[in-house]
């Protein structure tokens, strides 16, 4: 319970900084928008084709937006290394994972839905820890995140498609699968985050 309280305090700090700078949301809109625009251009003007591919295209754009938000939030921990101070002070280091997940999830949920936000957030925060502070982290982050998000992406796309064609009952299966994926990623993150994020 204490870890959850700590996580809320950490998330509030991250969101407060984002509210003051709006850097993460700006990065997400730019990245997601660019992907959406380029994919629409690639598909062409055929409305039937666009309609069929729309759910996948939107979710790919959202995946890139999630990576963009995740990267910007993680950057906060790398300027002047506040993470080292929190790492040493934290009584329960799972709170560091949960705090980052809550901050990222809160930003994602506004545009992408609860289950996606939880699954994508859990993967992104864990990937940040795995990638660490390597010089090529900006390149590595999407390389690590996107394959991990692929099942979630396909599931979310399936749910969207069912909703778009007016068969909400068909969306229940994918949504259930999405919930399972979110729970799995969250559990995995809580288990391995401390080892993955340990400095050097």
């Amino acid at each position: 319970m204490n870890a959850l309280g700590d996580a809320v305090a950490l998330a509030a700090a991250g969101l407060r900084i984002e509210l003051r700078t709006r850097a993460a949301v700006a990065a997400a809109v730019t990245l997601g928008g660019a992907v959406l625009f380029l994919m629409a251009l690639a598909i062409g003007p055929d409305p039937a084709r666009l309609g069929a591919l729309a759910p996948s295209v939107v979710w790919i754009a959202l995946a890139f937006a999630a990576v963009g938000i995740s990267d910007r939030l993680d950057a906060l921990d790398r300027v002047d290394d506040p993470f080292a101070g929190l790492w040493l002070a934290a009584q329960d280091r799972r709170a560091l994972y949960l705090g980052k997940l809550l901050a990222l999830g809160t930003l994602l949920v506004g545009i992408q839905g609860v289950l996606w936000a939880l699954a994508a957030g859990a993967v992104c925060v864990l990937a940040q820890a795995l990638v660490g502070t390597t010089a090529h982290r900006a390149l590595l982050l999407p390389v690590v995140v996107l394959p991990l998000l692929l099942p979630t992406l396909l599931t979310a796309s399936g749910a969207s498609e069912a909703l778009l064609i007016g068969r909400p009952a068909d969306a229940l299966g994918p949504l259930g699968l999405l919930a399972v994926q979110a729970a799995l990623y969250l559990g995995l993150g809580l288990l391995v985050y401390e080892a993955a994020a340990a400095p050097e």
Partner: protein
């Protein structure tokens, strides 16, 4: 301005600890940062780690903190049986502060994670003479002010072990005295304190023990006698 020091409310029982560095070596590629460092230190010591640039001071402090793994050797903490692991705080070359938060927000966050009363934040900022900037964003503060806020943030966790890398860098005379007084206070309240620096004259008389590093090796380990803040004030 710093405020006169009244005793901080110490916890009822401070975690008494003993540090043992056993054959600690750190290599960065072919560069030797530390070479077979052996050291023991216990709560109540105020240890100055002196040495020229690239002598291994910062690496040694980070290894003690557990933020950098030694290439070989290890750091062992001993304490009272059954006592929790020592709480360690480090102020390195980085401030370890979020630039987009205010000093009071940064300090309160650390206090919260350490399960300490968050109201201690303002008290620490006052003691270090930086309470007047407590509502400014850290990214807007001067280097000297930031050093003191960073120290306040580290102390908000009520650490048993305090590691400070060049705590007097960028400080003017008054701020140096406030910082030296805080070091004295930390020492007097039974903590194990390490601070690294090049300028021995500036802090002469403060440390109870002086370790000199040169090219990653301990070349001297001495106990200069009674400590005192006056030495800093007179520089």
């Amino acid at each position: 301005m710093s405020v006169p020091l009244a005793p901080l409310a110490p916890p009822p029982t401070r975690n008494s600890v003993a540090l043992q560095a056993v054959g600690v070596t750190k290599l960065y590629g072919h560069t030797i940062a530390l070479w077979r460092v052996e050291l023991t230190a216990t709560s109540g010591e105020l240890v100055a780690v002196h040495g020229p640039n690239a002598s291994g001071k910062s690496t040694f402090l980070r290894i003690i903190a557990g933020l950098t793994a030694p290439t070989t050797g290890r750091v062992v903490w001993a304490g009272v049986a059954g006592a929790p692991a020592p709480r360690i705080a480090l102020v390195g070359h980085a401030s370890h502060l979020y630039g987009g938060l205010t000093p009071i927000e940064n300090v309160a966050l650390t206090a919260r994670l350490a399960r300490r009363d968050q109201r201690v934040g303002l008290e620490l900022l006052e003691r270090l003479g930086v309470a007047r900037v407590s509502a400014s964003l850290c990214r807007d503060l001067s280097a000297g002010t930031l050093r003191r806020v960073a120290l306040a943030r580290a102390l908000a966790a009520d650490p048993d072990v305090v590691l400070l890398d060049e705590p007097f860098a960028s400080l003017d005379a008054a701020a140096s005295v406030a910082t030296a007084e805080m070091l004295e206070h930390l020492h007097a309240t039974g903590r194990l304190v390490f601070y690294a620096g090049h300028d021995e004259a500036r802090t002469r008389g403060l440390a109870t023990r002086v370790i000199e590093l040169d090219r990653g090796r301990i070349v001297a380990d001495r106990r200069p006698g009674p400590s005192g803040v006056g030495a800093v004030a007179s520089v």
